[in-house]
Amino acid sequence: MVMIAVLSCFVVAGFAPWLHRLIGRQTGWLLALLPATIFVYFASLIPQISSGETLRHAYQWFPGMAIQFSFLVDGLSLLFALLISGIGFFILAYAGRYLEGHPALGRFFLFLLGFMGSMLGLVLSDNLISLFVFWELTTVSSFMLIGFNHEDADSRKKAHQGLMVTVFGGLALMTGFIMLGMAAGSFELSEILAGPSLTEHSLYLPMLSLILLGAFTKSAQTPFHFWLPNAMAAPTPVSAYLHSATMVKAGIYLLARLNPTLGGSSSWLLTLTFIGALTMLTGIILASRATGIKKVLAYSTVMALGTLTMLLGLGTEKAALAAVTFLLAHALYKGALFMIAGILDHEAGVKDFRDVAGLRRLMPKTTIAAVVAALSLAGVIPLFGFVGKELLLEAVLSGSRWQVGLTIATVTANIFVVLVAALLALKPWFGKTLATPKAAHDPGPALLAGPVVLASLGLLCGVLPFLPDQYLLQAAASAVYGQPVSYSLVLWHGINLPLMLSLGSLALGLLLYRFWQGWREHTVLLERLSPYGPENGYNRLMQGLVSFSAWQTKTLQNGYLRHYLITTLATVVLLVGWAVLRLDTIALNVDFSGLRLQEITVVLLLLVTTLAAVTVKSFLAAVALLGALGFGVALIYVFFSAVDVGITQVLVETITVLLLVLVLYRLPEFRKLSSGVNRARDATIALLSGGLITVLILLVTNARSMEGISGFFLEKSVSEGFGRNVVNVILVDFRALDTLGEIFVLALVAIGVYAMMHLRTGALPVTNADKRYAGQKQRKSSAKTGGES
């Protein structure tokens, strides 16, 4: 069933464009039925999972390599699966309306559903390799979604940036996974987690750094945080889904998942808490300075991801529970807030906080949803965000080390979170109404359902915290912590230090909101730092890569066939020559006995022809001599009873001559263009490579350490290949895979020649299909002009 849930997303994704063409306007709702069904299925597993069971389903994939499609449902993956399918339901309905009329909406559904399947696969995979495959699939589908408006250069650039950063991390992650699998002796997460902690393993540090690199790039931790706000180039449903609730949490998921095995060491504690706290502060300070609604949300997501990393770094029982609580709370309010940002854009045409105020009368329902969600973000009692924040503060205060530093960082971050929440809850809705580019009004149910339901859930979970606690979070926190947790969530902890800190930050945050403009003006200095930021480093790196490729193309692939030959031959001579010279004994056993007269004659003829070919002064003569050379070689094959090879050689020579005749008239006159030094160099390289090959052949024939394989072929050709022509049996049966590869190379050559000549001459399309296509286009364009006139 789990397998079906994951794969059905991909199958439906494949049909989504057609469905959209068939059904049109309501496709979003129809497709949303799929995540709804998946949600119901996973919800039906809740009783089992919350009682402490785990489910595992395995399907063989590459049995020989211990790679399988295996799925693990425990508290953590269930929490994620419910979030992905639940929020996915609202996003699909939302996207259907938000992008209504967009010419590529069908394709959008395809990518979005493909992403959903990948993400479900990622969080449910038990096998490290299949987890990695899904991980990369989320990267690819995210690339497609960020660059959805691919005609916009800026959009493409940002999609590219997200891709580069996450793929770089993905590569590191793969290596880390392989090390982890080797160290643990299994690629199944369930077995790795059941095994001992690996913190003492000799590969621990390299493995940890590589896996962290993968998780940090995916989850936009400083210094890789820059790609996430740029990913806001995607349509808002994508931002709401991928870049707040799901994909960016993949890194967090991975850290949480591996916490029992890799966590607990001081390097884990140090890296995660430090990077997490740094990301938290960077994100929220940038958020407080941004004015674009989506930008503010994006940066505050960076802050949330940092907080989660920090909590996972602490690794205590309380921190594990705080992490999953915060994660759920964040997904609920951030998903809602992103969708509200989209509503503001879609229904009122505003994207910036400075351009909007006083919409509460025009958009009353949206206002309520926004205020509730923002209150949860600010952590105001009785919303679920409050529960999350209290736990966060408690976890930090009771942490084993650096409580003071981390507490100060967390409280500071919270002050700014309150500022951001106030911006979201107050700025667009209250005060004097500003005119908006579009007549603002409440949207229909497709757009409003998500924010309203998610915000209400935030309220419900806050008032009745035992509901999420008992059914989801206990099991999830236990999976993170590695053993059952004993704390449980309550709304009211009494008057204690966390509450005081919370109240203090609330007051300070509101005060800061009062002076938001002033804060932005006073911190304008921060902008001067941006040229030194990591994004700039990324850009420099990319430019460096491009100029390096330009340089190496100019040097190695300069278009002169002669230079290619020199490079190739010189490399072969140097590398092979070095290897030959390193041999202990070079026994060249040349035995001229048994030579027959005809062989000597042909060899002498070949030598003479070769000398003549390099010295003649006309192309035609050179071509003819080369042909003669080829026929001579064919004769030698025949002497050694390799008739097939001989025939092939003769035919290849014939066709070479034909080809040369075709180009002969195009060649420039035979002139002496190269200097004597050049010729000497070319001659040296030619002689060296020829000599080296001779030596090599002599060495190989003398130094056969094992029995040749030819005996096997000769013996089995008739009995198993049913053919007397051994050469052919080898080609089409014994080594058919090699031959297949070779004819694919031939095909590539054909396409290459074709493309090169046609690009050069700009010739017209030649196939019938091309002609038909060209005809259609012509008819279409003429019909268009006819309609216009």
Partner: protein, 146 residues
Amino acid sequence: MTPRFNMRSLILNTGATLLLPLLILFSLFLLLRGHDEPGGGFIGGLVAAAAIALKLFAEDYRAARTILRVHPLQLVGVGLVLAAGASLPAILVGENFFTAQWWTLDLPIFGSLKLSTPLIFDIGVYLGVIGTVLTVVFTLAEAEHS
């Protein structure tokens, strides 16, 4: 549009017209007997390609294209599909990928006919080679032509 290499000669022209069917038959002969005697898809393909190239030299580019009927790149495609497809029957009968499969058909008059995946594979090679060589030849001839 006179070709720059004016090689039209009555002898070549007549010779090519007579030789073309023979050469094609010969190439098929080479292809089919290849498993037991010298020959095979690669050699047969080269002969067939050379035969059509002969037509090109004896007449012109257009005549050669007409003889072939399809674009040579399409031959390459069909050849690759056949060759790659020959790897699959083994999977269907549960053997390892690319294991040769043999089927013997008993025909009343001609005796028994041996069919096999290596034969299909070899036909793929045959078509692939013809297509590749002719793509290159035609592309060059076309450049000369225009």
